[in-house]
Amino acid sequence: MGKPGRAFIAGAYEHPTRHAVDTSVAQLHAESAIGALADAGLTKDDVDGYFCAGDAPGLGGLSMIEYMGLDVRYMDSTDSGGSAYIVHLGHAVEAIAAGKCSVALITLGGRPKGAGKAPLPDYGNDTPDIGFETPYNQNIVNNYAMAAMRHRHEYGTTSEQLAWIKVAASHHAQHNEHAVLQNVVTVEDVVNSPMIADPLHRLDCCVVSDGGGALVVVSPEIAKTLGDRCVKIMGQGEASKTTNRGDIDLTYTGAVKSAPIAFEEAGLTPADIDMVTIYDSFTITVLISLEDLGFCEKGQGGKFVSDGNLISGVGKLPFNTDGGGLCNNHPSNRGSMTKVIEAVRQVRGEAHPKVQVPNCRFALAHGTGGLISTRIGSATAILGRNDA
Protein backbone atom coordinates (compact mmCIF):
# COMPACT_ATOMS: atom_id res chain seq x y z
CA MET A 1 0.00 0.00 0.00
CA GLY A 2 1.38 3.33 -1.03
CA LYS A 3 1.11 6.70 0.60
CA PRO A 4 0.18 10.21 -0.57
CA GLY A 5 2.62 12.40 -2.44
CA ARG A 6 4.88 9.80 -4.00
CA ALA A 7 4.34 11.68 -7.27
CA PHE A 8 2.68 14.88 -8.47
CA ILE A 9 0.77 15.98 -11.55
CA ALA A 10 2.89 18.85 -12.84
CA GLY A 11 1.14 19.41 -16.16
CA ALA A 12 -2.34 18.89 -17.57
CA TYR A 13 -3.76 19.93 -20.91
CA GLU A 14 -7.07 19.45 -22.66
CA HIS A 15 -7.01 19.79 -26.43
CA PRO A 16 -9.50 22.49 -27.45
CA THR A 17 -10.68 20.81 -30.66
CA ARG A 18 -14.00 18.98 -30.76
CA HIS A 19 -13.98 18.17 -34.46
CA ALA A 20 -10.57 17.36 -35.91
CA VAL A 21 -11.27 17.52 -39.62
CA ASP A 22 -7.66 17.70 -40.79
CA THR A 23 -5.62 16.73 -37.72
CA SER A 24 -4.32 13.16 -37.44
CA VAL A 25 -4.65 11.05 -34.29
CA ALA A 26 -0.87 11.14 -33.81
CA GLN A 27 -0.87 14.91 -34.07
CA LEU A 28 -3.68 15.16 -31.49
CA HIS A 29 -1.55 13.11 -29.08
CA ALA A 30 1.51 15.26 -29.75
CA GLU A 31 -0.33 18.58 -29.48
CA SER A 32 -1.75 17.43 -26.15
CA ALA A 33 1.74 16.46 -24.98
CA ILE A 34 3.10 19.86 -25.98
CA GLY A 35 0.34 21.55 -23.99
CA ALA A 36 0.86 19.46 -20.86
CA LEU A 37 4.65 19.87 -20.89
CA ALA A 38 4.30 23.64 -21.33
CA ASP A 39 1.83 23.67 -18.44
CA ALA A 40 4.38 21.82 -16.32
CA GLY A 41 7.29 24.03 -17.32
CA LEU A 42 9.17 21.06 -18.75
CA THR A 43 10.34 20.03 -22.22
CA LYS A 44 10.05 16.79 -24.12
CA ASP A 45 13.67 16.04 -23.39
CA ASP A 46 12.74 15.80 -19.71
CA VAL A 47 10.31 12.93 -20.42
CA ASP A 48 11.69 9.51 -19.48
CA GLY A 49 8.43 7.56 -19.16
CA TYR A 50 5.58 7.28 -21.67
CA PHE A 51 2.07 5.94 -21.04
CA CYS A 52 -0.76 5.46 -23.53
CA ALA A 53 -3.73 3.20 -24.26
CA GLY A 54 -5.30 1.69 -27.36
CA ASP A 55 -6.21 5.06 -28.85
CA ALA A 56 -2.50 5.66 -29.52
CA PRO A 57 -1.73 4.55 -33.08
CA GLY A 58 0.83 1.80 -33.59
CA LEU A 59 2.34 -0.93 -31.41
CA GLY A 60 1.94 -0.02 -27.75
CA GLY A 61 3.61 3.31 -27.19
CA LEU A 62 6.40 2.83 -29.72
CA SER A 63 4.88 4.67 -32.67
CA MET A 64 3.98 7.70 -30.58
CA ILE A 65 7.38 7.69 -28.83
CA GLU A 66 8.96 7.79 -32.29
CA TYR A 67 6.52 10.39 -33.67
CA MET A 68 7.20 12.77 -30.80
CA GLY A 69 10.95 12.15 -30.83
CA LEU A 70 11.01 10.83 -27.27
CA ASP A 71 13.62 8.53 -25.77
CA VAL A 72 12.27 6.84 -22.66
CA ARG A 73 13.32 4.23 -20.13
CA TYR A 74 9.83 3.28 -19.04
CA MET A 75 6.73 2.38 -21.11
CA ASP A 76 3.19 1.30 -20.20
CA SER A 77 0.36 0.78 -22.69
CA THR A 78 -2.22 -0.76 -20.37
CA ASP A 79 -5.65 -0.47 -21.96
CA SER A 80 -8.82 -0.62 -19.90
CA GLY A 81 -10.91 1.49 -22.23
CA GLY A 82 -11.95 4.91 -21.04
CA SER A 83 -10.56 4.33 -17.55
CA ALA A 84 -7.03 3.68 -18.81
CA TYR A 85 -5.59 7.12 -18.05
CA ILE A 86 -6.42 6.86 -14.34
CA VAL A 87 -4.82 3.41 -14.44
CA HIS A 88 -1.76 5.04 -16.04
CA LEU A 89 -1.75 7.68 -13.32
CA GLY A 90 -1.36 4.99 -10.65
CA HIS A 91 1.19 3.08 -12.69
CA ALA A 92 3.19 6.28 -13.18
CA VAL A 93 3.25 6.84 -9.42
CA GLU A 94 4.57 3.30 -8.89
CA ALA A 95 7.18 3.64 -11.64
CA ILE A 96 8.38 6.96 -10.24
CA ALA A 97 8.45 5.60 -6.68
CA ALA A 98 10.48 2.64 -7.92
CA GLY A 99 12.96 4.96 -9.63
CA LYS A 100 12.10 3.66 -13.11
CA CYS A 101 11.34 7.14 -14.41
CA SER A 102 10.93 10.65 -13.04
CA VAL A 103 8.89 12.52 -15.68
CA ALA A 104 5.98 10.44 -17.00
CA LEU A 105 3.93 11.62 -19.97
CA ILE A 106 0.41 10.21 -20.49
CA THR A 107 -1.41 11.07 -23.71
CA LEU A 108 -4.84 10.54 -25.27
CA GLY A 109 -6.09 11.55 -28.69
CA GLY A 110 -8.79 10.51 -31.10
CA ARG A 111 -11.11 11.62 -33.84
CA PRO A 112 -14.18 9.37 -33.90
CA LYS A 113 -16.19 12.27 -35.27
CA GLY A 114 -13.70 13.28 -37.94
CA ALA A 115 -13.21 9.66 -39.00
CA GLY A 116 -16.88 8.72 -38.74
CA LYS A 117 -15.89 5.39 -37.21
CA ALA A 118 -18.10 3.06 -35.19
CA PRO A 119 -16.91 3.19 -31.60
CA LEU A 120 -16.81 -0.59 -31.02
CA PRO A 121 -13.64 -2.08 -32.50
CA ASP A 122 -13.50 -5.43 -34.30
CA TYR A 123 -11.76 -7.70 -31.80
CA GLY A 124 -11.46 -10.65 -34.19
CA ASN A 125 -12.34 -14.34 -33.95
CA ASP A 126 -9.78 -15.16 -31.28
CA THR A 127 -11.43 -12.95 -28.70
CA PRO A 128 -13.34 -15.56 -26.71
CA ASP A 129 -16.32 -13.52 -25.51
CA ILE A 130 -17.31 -11.27 -28.36
CA GLY A 131 -18.83 -14.01 -30.53
CA PHE A 132 -21.53 -14.41 -27.90
CA GLU A 133 -22.37 -10.71 -27.91
CA THR A 134 -22.06 -9.03 -31.33
CA PRO A 135 -24.64 -11.26 -33.08
CA TYR A 136 -27.24 -9.87 -30.69
CA ASN A 137 -26.56 -6.33 -31.92
CA GLN A 138 -24.97 -5.26 -28.70
CA ASN A 139 -23.83 -1.66 -28.86
CA ILE A 140 -22.55 0.77 -26.28
CA VAL A 141 -25.92 2.35 -25.53
CA ASN A 142 -27.98 -0.82 -25.10
CA ASN A 143 -25.22 -2.42 -23.03
CA TYR A 144 -25.31 0.48 -20.53
CA ALA A 145 -29.11 0.60 -20.81
CA MET A 146 -29.39 -2.93 -19.40
CA ALA A 147 -27.56 -1.80 -16.26
CA ALA A 148 -29.95 1.15 -15.98
CA MET A 149 -32.97 -1.12 -16.45
CA ARG A 150 -31.81 -3.47 -13.70
CA HIS A 151 -31.06 -0.57 -11.36
CA ARG A 152 -34.57 0.75 -11.96
CA HIS A 153 -35.99 -2.70 -11.23
CA GLU A 154 -34.09 -3.23 -7.98
CA TYR A 155 -34.12 0.29 -6.53
CA GLY A 156 -36.88 2.19 -8.30
CA THR A 157 -34.44 4.60 -9.95
CA THR A 158 -36.42 6.88 -12.28
CA SER A 159 -35.66 8.57 -15.58
CA GLU A 160 -36.15 11.91 -13.85
CA GLN A 161 -33.45 11.07 -11.31
CA LEU A 162 -31.03 10.06 -14.06
CA ALA A 163 -31.90 13.28 -15.88
CA TRP A 164 -30.62 15.37 -12.96
CA ILE A 165 -27.11 14.17 -13.79
CA LYS A 166 -27.36 15.66 -17.29
CA VAL A 167 -28.95 18.80 -15.89
CA ALA A 168 -26.00 19.30 -13.52
CA ALA A 169 -23.48 18.73 -16.34
CA SER A 170 -25.29 21.28 -18.51
CA HIS A 171 -25.25 23.89 -15.75
CA HIS A 172 -21.46 23.59 -15.72
CA ALA A 173 -21.02 23.38 -19.49
CA GLN A 174 -22.67 26.78 -20.03
CA HIS A 175 -19.44 28.32 -18.71
CA ASN A 176 -17.13 26.23 -20.92
CA GLU A 177 -16.51 27.91 -24.26
CA HIS A 178 -15.16 24.66 -25.72
CA ALA A 179 -18.09 22.45 -24.69
CA VAL A 180 -19.98 20.71 -27.49
CA LEU A 181 -23.29 21.38 -25.72
CA GLN A 182 -23.47 24.70 -23.86
CA ASN A 183 -27.21 25.04 -23.32
CA VAL A 184 -28.68 24.48 -19.88
CA VAL A 185 -31.26 21.70 -20.01
CA THR A 186 -34.07 20.71 -17.66
CA VAL A 187 -35.22 17.35 -16.36
CA GLU A 188 -38.14 17.62 -18.79
CA ASP A 189 -35.76 18.22 -21.71
CA VAL A 190 -33.93 15.00 -20.88
CA VAL A 191 -36.93 12.73 -20.36
CA ASN A 192 -38.65 14.17 -23.44
CA SER A 193 -35.63 13.63 -25.69
CA PRO A 194 -35.93 10.64 -28.02
CA MET A 195 -35.61 7.20 -26.44
CA ILE A 196 -32.48 5.52 -27.77
CA ALA A 197 -32.39 2.27 -25.79
CA ASP A 198 -34.86 1.90 -22.90
CA PRO A 199 -34.51 3.52 -20.40
CA LEU A 200 -31.77 5.79 -21.82
CA HIS A 201 -32.86 8.86 -23.76
CA ARG A 202 -30.71 10.78 -26.16
CA LEU A 203 -29.75 13.29 -23.46
CA ASP A 204 -28.73 10.47 -21.10
CA CYS A 205 -25.86 9.80 -23.52
CA CYS A 206 -22.52 11.59 -23.74
CA VAL A 207 -21.48 13.49 -26.82
CA VAL A 208 -19.29 12.12 -29.60
CA SER A 209 -16.31 14.39 -30.14
CA ASP A 210 -12.72 14.50 -31.26
CA GLY A 211 -9.92 15.81 -29.11
CA GLY A 212 -7.20 14.79 -26.76
CA GLY A 213 -5.49 15.39 -23.48
CA ALA A 214 -2.25 14.79 -21.66
CA LEU A 215 -0.80 14.65 -18.16
CA VAL A 216 2.76 15.01 -16.89
CA VAL A 217 3.48 13.15 -13.66
CA VAL A 218 6.73 13.89 -11.84
CA SER A 219 8.73 12.82 -8.80
CA PRO A 220 8.42 14.84 -5.55
CA GLU A 221 11.94 16.17 -6.09
CA ILE A 222 11.08 17.58 -9.51
CA ALA A 223 7.70 18.84 -8.25
CA LYS A 224 9.50 20.95 -5.65
CA THR A 225 11.36 22.79 -8.42
CA LEU A 226 8.15 23.45 -10.37
CA GLY A 227 6.12 25.23 -7.73
CA ASP A 228 2.79 24.89 -5.98
CA ARG A 229 0.69 24.28 -9.11
CA CYS A 230 1.87 20.69 -8.84
CA VAL A 231 -1.01 18.53 -7.69
CA LYS A 232 -0.39 15.85 -5.10
CA ILE A 233 -1.50 12.34 -6.05
CA MET A 234 -3.04 11.11 -2.81
CA GLY A 235 -4.09 7.63 -3.83
CA GLN A 236 -5.17 5.45 -6.73
CA GLY A 237 -6.94 2.12 -7.15
CA GLU A 238 -7.99 -0.01 -10.09
CA ALA A 239 -10.10 -3.11 -10.59
CA SER A 240 -11.66 -5.38 -13.17
CA LYS A 241 -15.24 -6.54 -13.35
CA THR A 242 -16.57 -9.11 -15.81
CA THR A 243 -19.63 -11.24 -16.53
CA ASN A 244 -18.26 -13.39 -13.70
CA ARG A 245 -18.60 -16.75 -15.48
CA GLY A 246 -22.27 -16.05 -16.16
CA ASP A 247 -23.20 -14.97 -12.64
CA ILE A 248 -24.39 -11.56 -13.81
CA ASP A 249 -24.96 -8.66 -11.40
CA LEU A 250 -25.42 -5.32 -13.15
CA THR A 251 -26.03 -3.26 -10.02
CA TYR A 252 -22.40 -2.46 -9.30
CA THR A 253 -19.09 -1.72 -11.02
CA GLY A 254 -15.40 -2.28 -10.28
CA ALA A 255 -15.46 0.96 -8.31
CA VAL A 256 -16.49 -1.09 -5.27
CA LYS A 257 -12.91 -2.38 -5.32
CA SER A 258 -10.94 0.51 -6.84
CA ALA A 259 -12.36 3.22 -4.53
CA PRO A 260 -11.47 1.62 -1.17
CA ILE A 261 -7.91 1.09 -2.41
CA ALA A 262 -7.61 4.75 -3.42
CA PHE A 263 -9.17 6.03 -0.19
CA GLU A 264 -6.97 3.84 1.97
CA GLU A 265 -3.84 4.97 0.14
CA ALA A 266 -4.93 8.60 0.54
CA GLY A 267 -5.91 8.18 4.19
CA LEU A 268 -9.24 9.82 3.36
CA THR A 269 -12.96 9.01 3.22
CA PRO A 270 -15.70 10.20 0.85
CA ALA A 271 -16.59 12.90 3.40
CA ASP A 272 -13.18 14.53 2.78
CA ILE A 273 -13.77 14.95 -0.96
CA ASP A 274 -14.68 18.48 -2.12
CA MET A 275 -15.67 17.60 -5.68
CA VAL A 276 -15.68 14.64 -8.07
CA THR A 277 -15.11 14.05 -11.73
CA ILE A 278 -16.72 10.82 -12.90
CA TYR A 279 -16.56 9.37 -16.39
CA ASP A 280 -20.10 9.98 -17.60
CA SER A 281 -20.49 7.86 -20.70
CA PHE A 282 -24.17 7.82 -19.71
CA THR A 283 -26.10 9.21 -16.79
CA ILE A 284 -26.43 5.71 -15.32
CA THR A 285 -22.62 5.36 -15.26
CA VAL A 286 -22.39 8.32 -12.89
CA LEU A 287 -25.24 7.15 -10.68
CA ILE A 288 -23.86 3.65 -10.13
CA SER A 289 -20.32 5.03 -9.72
CA LEU A 290 -21.41 7.44 -6.97
CA GLU A 291 -22.92 4.54 -5.04
CA ASP A 292 -19.90 2.31 -5.57
CA LEU A 293 -17.45 5.08 -4.64
CA GLY A 294 -19.20 5.40 -1.30
CA PHE A 295 -20.88 8.80 -1.65
CA CYS A 296 -24.27 7.23 -0.89
CA GLU A 297 -25.74 3.85 -0.07
CA LYS A 298 -26.30 1.29 -2.82
CA GLY A 299 -29.68 2.00 -4.38
CA GLN A 300 -29.82 5.59 -3.12
CA GLY A 301 -28.03 7.10 -6.13
CA GLY A 302 -31.24 8.37 -7.68
CA LYS A 303 -32.13 10.32 -4.58
CA PHE A 304 -28.54 11.52 -4.16
CA VAL A 305 -28.23 13.10 -7.62
CA SER A 306 -31.64 14.81 -7.55
CA ASP A 307 -32.50 18.44 -6.98
CA GLY A 308 -29.17 19.81 -8.14
CA ASN A 309 -27.00 18.01 -5.61
CA LEU A 310 -24.23 17.68 -8.23
CA ILE A 311 -24.32 21.35 -9.34
CA SER A 312 -21.39 23.49 -8.21
CA GLY A 313 -22.55 26.22 -5.84
CA VAL A 314 -25.91 24.50 -5.36
CA GLY A 315 -25.43 20.92 -4.22
CA LYS A 316 -23.24 19.07 -1.76
CA LEU A 317 -21.06 17.24 -4.27
CA PRO A 318 -20.11 19.24 -7.39
CA PHE A 319 -19.30 16.90 -10.28
CA ASN A 320 -17.81 17.29 -13.76
CA THR A 321 -17.53 21.05 -13.52
CA ASP A 322 -16.30 21.28 -17.15
CA GLY A 323 -19.55 19.76 -18.41
CA GLY A 324 -18.04 16.26 -18.59
CA GLY A 325 -18.67 13.81 -21.39
CA LEU A 326 -22.36 14.56 -21.26
CA CYS A 327 -21.80 18.12 -22.50
CA ASN A 328 -18.14 19.05 -22.96
CA ASN A 329 -16.28 16.38 -24.91
CA HIS A 330 -15.50 12.68 -25.27
CA PRO A 331 -12.24 12.38 -27.19
CA SER A 332 -11.63 8.93 -28.65
CA ASN A 333 -14.77 7.70 -26.84
CA ARG A 334 -12.64 7.57 -23.69
CA GLY A 335 -13.49 9.75 -20.74
CA SER A 336 -11.08 9.49 -17.84
CA MET A 337 -8.28 11.72 -19.16
CA THR A 338 -10.53 14.77 -19.20
CA LYS A 339 -11.80 13.81 -15.74
CA VAL A 340 -8.29 14.04 -14.30
CA ILE A 341 -7.66 17.32 -16.11
CA GLU A 342 -10.75 19.00 -14.60
CA ALA A 343 -9.91 17.63 -11.14
CA VAL A 344 -6.44 19.17 -11.53
CA ARG A 345 -7.98 22.54 -12.43
CA GLN A 346 -10.19 22.37 -9.35
CA VAL A 347 -7.49 21.59 -6.78
CA ARG A 348 -5.28 24.25 -8.37
CA GLY A 349 -8.14 26.72 -8.06
CA GLU A 350 -7.99 27.29 -11.82
CA ALA A 351 -11.45 26.06 -12.87
CA HIS A 352 -13.87 28.57 -14.39
CA PRO A 353 -14.84 31.02 -11.60
CA LYS A 354 -18.52 30.15 -12.03
CA VAL A 355 -17.84 26.48 -11.22
CA GLN A 356 -14.72 26.64 -9.05
CA VAL A 357 -15.35 24.88 -5.76
CA PRO A 358 -14.21 27.26 -2.96
CA ASN A 359 -11.14 26.06 -1.09
CA CYS A 360 -11.05 22.80 -3.06
CA ARG A 361 -8.55 20.64 -1.27
CA PHE A 362 -9.34 17.12 -2.44
CA ALA A 363 -10.89 15.98 -5.73
CA LEU A 364 -11.71 12.44 -6.79
CA ALA A 365 -11.48 11.38 -10.44
CA HIS A 366 -13.06 8.11 -11.49
CA GLY A 367 -13.32 6.18 -14.74
CA THR A 368 -15.30 3.19 -15.97
CA GLY A 369 -13.88 1.75 -19.18
CA GLY A 370 -15.29 -0.88 -21.49
CA LEU A 371 -18.92 -1.99 -21.37
CA ILE A 372 -20.68 -1.82 -18.02
CA SER A 373 -22.88 -4.89 -18.53
CA THR A 374 -20.07 -7.17 -19.66
CA ARG A 375 -16.45 -6.33 -18.84
CA ILE A 376 -15.03 -3.12 -17.46
CA GLY A 377 -11.92 -1.66 -15.96
CA SER A 378 -12.50 0.81 -13.14
CA ALA A 379 -9.96 3.26 -11.82
CA THR A 380 -10.13 5.86 -9.06
CA ALA A 381 -7.65 8.60 -8.26
CA ILE A 382 -7.70 11.09 -5.40
CA LEU A 383 -5.87 14.35 -6.00
CA GLY A 384 -4.88 16.89 -3.41
CA ARG A 385 -3.79 20.49 -3.42
CA ASN A 386 -0.02 20.95 -3.38
CA ASP A 387 -0.06 21.64 0.36
CA ALA A 388 -2.58 18.90 1.18
Partner: protein, 135 residues
Protein backbone atom coordinates in the same frame (compact mmCIF):
# COMPACT_ATOMS: atom_id res chain seq x y z
CA UNK B 1 -42.66 -6.86 -35.97
CA UNK B 2 -44.36 -7.50 -39.30
CA UNK B 3 -44.73 -5.63 -42.57
CA UNK B 4 -48.11 -4.73 -44.04
CA UNK B 5 -47.92 -7.94 -46.06
CA UNK B 6 -47.66 -9.86 -42.80
CA UNK B 7 -44.05 -10.84 -43.37
CA UNK B 8 -41.88 -10.66 -40.31
CA UNK B 9 -38.99 -8.19 -40.39
CA UNK B 10 -35.90 -9.01 -38.38
CA UNK B 11 -32.87 -6.95 -37.63
CA UNK B 12 -29.65 -8.00 -39.30
CA UNK B 13 -27.83 -10.41 -36.97
CA UNK B 14 -24.06 -10.02 -37.45
CA UNK B 15 -22.00 -13.17 -37.98
CA UNK B 16 -20.65 -14.49 -34.68
CA UNK B 17 -16.90 -14.67 -34.22
CA UNK B 18 -16.28 -18.43 -34.07
CA UNK B 19 -13.03 -20.23 -33.31
CA UNK B 20 -11.95 -23.83 -32.70
CA UNK B 21 -12.93 -23.62 -29.05
CA UNK B 22 -16.43 -22.27 -29.61
CA UNK B 23 -17.35 -24.19 -32.81
CA UNK B 24 -19.30 -26.93 -30.93
CA UNK B 25 -21.65 -24.30 -29.45
CA UNK B 26 -22.60 -23.17 -32.95
CA UNK B 27 -22.78 -26.73 -34.28
CA UNK B 28 -25.26 -27.42 -31.47
CA UNK B 29 -27.27 -24.35 -32.36
CA UNK B 30 -27.48 -25.61 -35.96
CA UNK B 31 -29.16 -28.72 -34.52
CA UNK B 32 -31.61 -26.61 -32.49
CA UNK B 33 -29.75 -27.03 -29.19
CA UNK B 34 -28.42 -24.54 -26.68
CA UNK B 35 -25.21 -26.10 -25.38
CA UNK B 36 -23.44 -25.06 -22.20
CA UNK B 37 -20.28 -26.29 -20.52
CA UNK B 38 -20.08 -27.95 -17.15
CA UNK B 39 -16.90 -28.82 -15.27
CA UNK B 40 -16.34 -32.52 -14.59
CA UNK B 41 -14.18 -31.66 -11.57
CA UNK B 42 -15.96 -28.86 -9.69
CA UNK B 43 -19.37 -29.61 -11.26
CA UNK B 44 -20.04 -25.91 -11.87
CA UNK B 45 -21.54 -24.49 -15.04
CA UNK B 46 -20.39 -21.31 -16.74
CA UNK B 47 -21.16 -18.99 -19.67
CA UNK B 48 -19.85 -18.17 -22.26
CA UNK B 49 -18.52 -21.69 -22.83
CA UNK B 50 -14.81 -22.35 -22.35
CA UNK B 51 -12.63 -25.46 -22.53
CA UNK B 52 -10.88 -24.38 -19.33
CA UNK B 53 -13.26 -24.09 -16.36
CA UNK B 54 -13.22 -20.45 -15.15
CA UNK B 55 -14.19 -21.63 -11.65
CA UNK B 56 -11.35 -24.11 -10.97
CA UNK B 57 -9.07 -24.04 -14.07
CA UNK B 58 -9.78 -27.69 -14.84
CA UNK B 59 -9.62 -28.76 -18.49
CA UNK B 60 -12.18 -31.46 -17.72
CA UNK B 61 -15.19 -29.58 -19.08
CA UNK B 62 -18.01 -31.13 -21.06
CA UNK B 63 -20.82 -29.86 -23.26
CA UNK B 64 -24.41 -30.53 -22.27
CA UNK B 65 -27.77 -29.50 -23.66
CA UNK B 66 -29.84 -27.02 -21.67
CA UNK B 67 -33.61 -27.11 -21.28
CA UNK B 68 -33.75 -23.79 -23.14
CA UNK B 69 -35.74 -22.07 -20.41
CA UNK B 70 -35.01 -19.03 -18.31
CA UNK B 71 -36.04 -15.63 -17.00
CA UNK B 72 -35.14 -12.14 -18.16
CA UNK B 73 -32.52 -10.63 -15.84
CA UNK B 74 -32.41 -7.30 -17.66
CA UNK B 75 -33.16 -5.98 -21.12
CA UNK B 76 -33.37 -2.90 -23.31
CA UNK B 77 -35.48 -2.15 -26.34
CA UNK B 78 -33.15 -0.66 -28.92
CA UNK B 79 -35.44 1.99 -30.38
CA UNK B 80 -32.94 3.89 -32.49
CA UNK B 81 -32.24 1.20 -35.07
CA UNK B 82 -33.47 0.46 -38.60
CA UNK B 83 -35.51 -2.37 -37.08
CA UNK B 84 -35.99 -2.06 -33.29
CA UNK B 85 -35.03 -5.11 -31.25
CA UNK B 86 -34.72 -6.29 -27.66
CA UNK B 87 -31.32 -7.11 -26.18
CA UNK B 88 -31.36 -8.95 -22.86
CA UNK B 89 -29.60 -11.08 -20.32
CA UNK B 90 -31.53 -14.27 -19.68
CA UNK B 91 -30.79 -16.34 -16.58
CA UNK B 92 -31.04 -19.98 -17.62
CA UNK B 93 -32.58 -22.69 -15.45
CA UNK B 94 -29.10 -24.22 -15.34
CA UNK B 95 -27.73 -21.12 -13.57
CA UNK B 96 -25.68 -18.87 -15.82
CA UNK B 97 -27.02 -15.75 -17.52
CA UNK B 98 -26.40 -15.12 -21.21
CA UNK B 99 -26.71 -12.15 -23.52
CA UNK B 100 -29.41 -12.72 -26.12
CA UNK B 101 -32.35 -11.17 -27.94
CA UNK B 102 -36.04 -11.44 -27.05
CA UNK B 103 -38.12 -11.97 -30.20
CA UNK B 104 -41.67 -12.60 -31.42
CA UNK B 105 -43.40 -10.44 -28.84
CA UNK B 106 -44.76 -7.03 -28.00
CA UNK B 107 -41.59 -5.16 -27.09
CA UNK B 108 -43.50 -2.83 -24.77
CA UNK B 109 -44.62 -5.82 -22.69
CA UNK B 110 -41.14 -7.26 -22.10
CA UNK B 111 -40.28 -7.26 -18.38
CA UNK B 112 -37.60 -8.33 -15.96
CA UNK B 113 -38.31 -11.78 -14.45
CA UNK B 114 -40.49 -12.69 -17.44
CA UNK B 115 -40.25 -16.41 -18.34
CA UNK B 116 -38.78 -17.10 -21.75
CA UNK B 117 -37.93 -20.12 -23.88
CA UNK B 118 -35.37 -20.88 -26.56
CA UNK B 119 -35.89 -20.24 -30.24
CA UNK B 120 -33.55 -19.38 -33.09
CA UNK B 121 -32.78 -16.71 -35.65
CA UNK B 122 -30.49 -16.96 -38.64
CA UNK B 123 -27.41 -14.79 -38.35
CA UNK B 124 -25.23 -13.67 -41.24
CA UNK B 125 -23.55 -16.61 -42.92
CA UNK B 126 -26.49 -18.93 -42.19
CA UNK B 127 -25.43 -19.40 -38.57
CA UNK B 128 -28.22 -20.48 -36.17
CA UNK B 129 -28.40 -17.96 -33.32
CA UNK B 130 -30.01 -18.89 -29.98
CA UNK B 131 -32.56 -16.26 -28.92
CA UNK B 132 -35.55 -16.30 -26.58
CA UNK B 133 -39.26 -15.59 -26.70
CA UNK B 134 -41.81 -15.17 -23.88
CA UNK B 135 -43.43 -18.42 -22.72
Amino acid sequence: MTTEAGQEVHPHYPKPAINVETQPFWDGAAEGKLLLKRCGDCDKTHYYPRNICPHCFSANTEWFETAGKGRIYSFSVMRRAPVPYVIAFVTLEEGPSMMTNIVDCDFDAVAIDQEVKLTFREAEGGIALPVFTPV
